[in-house]
Amino acid sequence: MISLYIHIPFCLAKCRYCDFPSIAAKKDTYPAYVSALCKEIKLRHQQASPLKADTVYFGGGTPSLLSVNSIATILTTLKTSYDLSPDAEITLEANPGTVDLPKLQALRKLGINRLSFGVQATQDFLLKLLGRIHTLADTKEAITAAKKAGFQNISLDLMYGLPRQTLAMLQESTAWALQQEPQHISIYGLQIEPGTPFAQMQKEGCLPLPDEDTVETMYDFITTTLPQHGFERYEIANFARHGFASRHNLAYWQDKAYLGFGCAAHSYYNFQRTYNTHNVYEYIRSCNNNALPVFEEEKFDNQTWMEEFCFLALRTARGIDKKKFQENFHRSIHDVYGKNINMLLTQKLLKENDAYLFLTPAGMKLGNIVFEKFLL
C-alpha cells in the first residue's frame, strides 16, 4: 500500500513566512501544469508496476486554486494508473479565501473526503501580517460550506509564535477552532526561514516576535488544551479525534512508501528518496518531453534507512516499533543505540514499553535533541 502526494505550487500571494515551493503565477500557467502533472503520473506508471494506494494528498501551495475540472482530471489520471482503495483518504489543502459552497460540493462529489484548512489564527490583523489572503469571516464561511457540502473529516491548521501574537490571542484562536468541531488539528510553531520576507524583517529589527518563554507557554497551552478536548496527539504536531488521524501524514513517519507528483514533490519508494525540480517551468518542459522531472535521487543505504526509521517513528505517539526494527535491520535497537537510549531514558525524554520506544511529553518538546541521538 502506498501514498500519493500531488503538489500544486500556486498561490494568489506568497505568505511572508513561507519558504515552501510555491509561486504566485499567472492563472494561464495552471492548465499547462495540470497537463504536465498528468503526464508525470503516466510516466511513473510506466516505470512502476500498478500499485495499491490508500491515501491521496493534494498539498501546496494552494491546491484549492485549481478548478474542479483540473482536480477531476488529476484524480481520474491517478485512478487509471493506481489502484485506489475504496476507502482511500483523499485530502485537499484549502485556503479559506479560495472556496465556496458549489466548489466544495463538486469536490466532495469527485471523491475528496478530507479537507485541510489553513486557519492559522483568528485575528484579522495577524492574518494580514502573515500575508494570508483570507479573513476570519472567510474561514468561518468556508468551514460552514464544507460541512454543508458533506465533508465529515476536516482539519484545521493553527500557528503559534507569530509576530505580535499573545497567549490570549492563541487561546482565542484555539477556542474558536474547537468550536468549529473539526476532526483534526495541526499546530505549527513559526520558524523564520532564510530568504523569506520575515527573515528580512527580522534582520531589520522590525519583526516583533514573542520571546522564547512566551512561545513555550503557547506550546504548552495548545498541546495540553487539545487533548483535554478529545483530540489525541498522535504525532508531535498533529491532533485528531479518535479514528481521524491522517493516514497520509502517518505514512511519512511510519516508513511507508509514497510517490510525490508535481514540482518539488518528494517520493520515497523502493529504498530511494527522490525529489522533483523546484522550477515550475522546467517541470512542465521536462514532463512534456516525456522525461521524469527528477531533480535528485538520494542514495539510501542501510544506515540512512535505520536512522530515518528511528527519528521519523519517534515523531508519532506510538514511537519506534522495536520488533519492526529487528525485522528490518536484523539487530536489536539496543545493540545499535543502547548508550544513547539509556541516556535519553535517564533524562526522561524517552520511554519504553515491551513493544515501543517513544517520546515523553518533555521529549516531544525537545524532539530535535532526541532525534539527533539516532544519527550514527
Binding site: 522564547e212 513555550e216 504536531a237 511519512y252 528518496r273 518538546k365 524532539g367 539527533e372
Partner: protein, 597 residues
C-alpha cells in the same frame, strides 16, 4: 657580476601603502617574469598572505636591469614582513641590504608602522630613498607628505620619487634612484666567509633552505659550512637565487643575495640572524645582531576531538619546519584534555598559525585566550615564568609578580587625541610623550602587553574610526598587582578559562566575562550557573537557563531530506563544542575574554 653593479635593497611601507604593488612593477619592468607569469602581488605567495594583504614570510627576488649607462645591474629586492609581530625578521632583512625604499601613501601620509621600520633601517645605516606612491589618487597631497617625511622622520624629501604603482608613473625613476643612490656592497671574495641568514623555509625536496646575504667570501656547492651560533656544520648542495622561483647557480659571491640548501632537515638549524662561515677557514667574528627567537604571546591549542591529538602534533611539527618562531610543548588541561602550549611572535602570528592548522590540516581546535609571560617571584626566592594562567602558584606562595610592558607609539589625527589618551589610561598605559606632526599627534605610552593582546588595538581602531596607527616594541618587565580570575561552569572550575588580570580590573572583567559566556554557551538540558571567582571569592554569577523547547515543525509533502539536513547540521554544530564536565562549550567561549568590553 661585479660587486659594483649589485644593489641590495628592501621596501619599507605601512600596510596598504603599496609595497607589494611597487615590487610587482619592478619585477614586471625588468622582464624578470613574462606578463603571463605575473600574478598580482607575486611575492605574497601564501594564500593567507594574499587574502590578508600582508607579507608573512620574507621573500627575495633578483632583478637584472639595464642602466642608462648601458651596464647590467643586479638588483636584489628583499621583501620584508610588514607586521609588528615580525620586527626581528624585518631587522635581519634590513641588515642584508645597503638601502631601502621608503614608500609612503600620497594621501595617507606617514604612519606609525612606517616610522618604526625607518628607524630600524637608519639603525642599519641604510640609504633611504623616499617614494611617494598613489599620486594618482584625487586626495593625493605629495607636498604635505614630503613635509611630513622631513618633519617626522628627518629625511631630506626634496628628491622624493613621485609615483603611482597602479599607473606605472615614476617607476623608471625608482630604478635610477636605486642605482645612483644605494651604495654597492663592499666585501671581498677572498676573505673568510661571512654570510647572514635573514630567513628560512622548508622545501619538501631540498630540506631546510636559508635565505642569505654574503658579506665576505664566497660559497660553492660541496663546501663545508658552519652555523656560528650553534656550531652546526653541513655540506652545501644547492646554491641559487630567486626570480622569485628558485634558480640554481654555481656560486654566491661577496655582496650577493640568494639561497643555500644542504644537509639540513630542520629550519630550527637555520636561525634567522645567524652567521654562516666555512669549517676550514672560519671568520673570527660573527655578524652583529643575532638573537634567539623569543615568543611574546602564548596560548593553549587543543583538538576538540581528543582523538586528533596526534594529528595536531604532526601538523605543528610540519608548520614548525617552515617557521622557526613557532614553539610548542605538550600540556594538559583538566577541561580540555591533551594539547599544546604554543608560543608566537605576536597575535597575528598566532592567528595565522591557528588558521593554517584549521585550513590546511583540517583540524577542529580550541584556542585558549592568549597570555603573555609573567614573572612570578615566589616567597621562597624562586622565579617562575608563567605563560599558562592555570600554572600560577597559589597566592600565598607569591611574593610579587611582574608583567611585560611595551612602548606603544600611536599616530592619530588631532581630533582623536583625547580618545586615545582615555583608552591608553584605561588600559593601564603610562604616558611618555606627545608630539605634533602637522594636524596629527604622535603619542607614546608604556602599556602592559597583556592589555595590547586583549583589545587595545581594536579599541584604538574603533574609537578613532580606523585612523590610528600603532606600533610597539618590548620595554621590559614591571611589577604589577595581578590575580588569577577563574571561571566555574556548573560549579566546576574550568582551568582553560582562567586568566591573569590586574587586581583593579578583576571585578569588572569577571562580570563581563560571565555575561559574555552566558551569551556564548547555548541553552542545554539543565540550568548552568556561570561563576567568576578570585581565589575562593565569587565575584560574578550568571545563569544559562535550561533549554525547554526545540522541535522541528510539521513536514511538507514528505520532505524528509530537509529534516535530516537540519538534524545533521545540529549534530555538526555539537562537534564544534567541547564537553567540559557535563557542559557543552563552544570554541569561541575560550576566547571570550578577548571580546569583553
Amino acid at each position: 657580476m661585479d660587486a659594483k653593479n649589485i644593489r641590495n635593497f628592501s621596501i619599507i611601507a605601512h600596510i596598504d601603502h603599496g609595497k607589494s604593488t611597487i615590487a610587482d612593477r619592478l619585477i614586471e619592468q625588468t622582464g624578470t617574469l613574462t606578463e603571463r607569469e605575473m600574478e598580482d602581488q607575486i611575492l605574497d605567495n601564501m594564500d593567507l598572505e594574499r587574502e590578508r594583504g600582508i607579507t608573512i614570510k620574507a621573500q627575495t627576488v633578483r632583478l637584472h636591469y639595464k642602466g642608462k649607462d648601458g651596464q647590467i645591474y643586479e638588483l636584489n629586492l628583499i621583501d620584508t614582513p610588514g607586521h609588528v609581530d615580525f620586527n626581528y625578521e624585518v631587522s635581519r632583512s634590513l641588515a642584508a641590504c645597503e638601502g631601502a625604499l621608503l614608500v609612503v601613501d600620497a594621501a595617507q601620509g606617514v604612519e606609525a608602522q612606517t616610522l618604526a621600520n625607518v628607524y630600524l633601517a637608519l639603525e642599519h645605516d641604510l640609504e633611504i630613498i623616499p617614494i611617494i606612491n598613489k599620486i594618482d589618487l584625487p586626495s593625493a597631497d605629495p607636498e604635505r607628505v614630503k613635509k611630513q617625511i622631513e618633519d617626522i622622520i628627518g629625511l631630506d624629501a626634496s628628491e622624493a620619487v613621485l609615483c603611482s604603482a597602479k599607473t606605472g608613473v615614476g617607476i623608471s625613476k625608482i630604478f635610477t634612484e636605486i642605482i645612483d643612490k644605494i651604495p654597492a656592497p663592499s666585501g671581498n671574495d677572498s676573505e673568510p666567509l661571512k654570510a647572514l641568514i635573514f630567513d628560512s623555509y622548508f622545501d619538501s625536496y631540498k630540506g631546510a633552505i636559508a635565505h642569505i646575504r654574503v658579506f665576505e667570501g664566497m660559497i660553492k656547492p660541496g663546501m663545508k659550512l658552519k652555523m656560528m651560533s650553534t656550531g652546526k656544520t653541513f655540506e652545501v648542495t644547492d646554491i641559487g637565487f630567486f626570480r622569485p622561483t628558485p634558480v640554481n647557480v654555481g656560486s654566491l659571491h661577496a655582496g650577493q643575495v640568494g639561497f643555500i640548501a644542504g644537509s639540513l632537515k630542520n629550519v630550527k638549524d637555520i636561525r634567522v640572524g645567524d652567521t654562516i662561515t666555512t669549517v676550514q677557514n672560519p671568520t673570527k667574528e660573527a655578524l652583529p645582531g643575532y638573537r634567539g627567537v623569543t615568543p611574546m604571546v602564548y596560548c593553549g591549542l587543543y583538538p576538540i576531538d581528543s582523538g586528533e591529538y596526534n594529528n595536531l602534533k604532526d601538523a605543528l611539527e610540519k608548520l614548525q619546519l617552515n617557521d622557526a618562531a613557532l614553539v610548542f610543548e605538550p600540556e594538559t588541561s583538566i577541561a580540555l584534555g591533551f594539547g599544546f602550549r604554543c608560543g608566537f611572535l605576536g597575535l597575528l602570528h598566532m592567528d595565522v598559525i591557528q588558521e593554517r592548522l584549521e585550513r590546511e590540516y583540517n583540524l577542529k581546535l580550541i584556542t585558549t585566550a592568549p597570555s603573555v609571560i609573567y614573572h612570578v617571584y615566589k616567597t621562597n626566592g624562586e622565579m617562575l615564568k608563567v605563560a599558562n594562567p592555570a600554572e600560577l602558584p597559589p597566592p600565598t606562595e607569591i611574593e610579587h609578580m611582574e608583567e611585560p610592558f611595551v612602548k606603544a607609539t600611536v599616530i592619530v589625527p588631532n581630533d582623536y587625541v583625547g580618545a586615545v589618551m582615555e583608552i591608553s589610561q584605561e588600559k593601564r598605559g603610562k604616558f611618555i610623550s606627545m608630539d605634533y606632526i602637522d594636524n596629527r599627534v604622535m603619542l607614546v605610552y608604556n602599556v602592559p602587553l597583556n592589555e595590547i593582546i586583549y583589545d587595545y588595538f581594536d579599541k584604538l581602531k574603533s574609537t578613532t574610526r580606523g585612523y590610528a596607527s600603532l606600533d610597539y616594541e618590548l620595554a621590559g618587565y614591571q611589577q604589577a598587582k595581578l590575580v588569577k580570575l577563574d571561571i566555574l561552569l556548573n560549579g566546576e572550575m574550568v582551568d582553560a578559562l582562567s586568566t591573569i588580570v590586574h587586581i583593579d580590573r578583576a571585578q569588572p572583567r569577571g562580570r563581563q566575562l560571565a555575561e559574555k559566556l552566558k551569551k556564548i554557551i547555548p541553552r542545554q538540558m539543565f540550568e548552568i550557573p556561570i561563576q567568576a571567582a578570585i581565589g575562593n571569592k565569587i565575584i560574578a554569577r550568571e545563569t544559562v537557563r535550561a533549554m525547554r523547547k526545540d522541535v522541528l515543525s510539521k513536514c511538507y509533502g514528505g520532505d524528509i531530506t530537509r529534516k535530516r539536513k537540519l538534524l545533521e547540521k545540529q549534530k555538526e554544530g555539537k562537534k564544534r563544542m567541547k564537553s567540559v564536565g557535563s557542559v557543552e562549550v563552544p570554541q569561541e567561549a575560550f576566547m571570550a575574554i578577548l571580546k569583553v568590553d
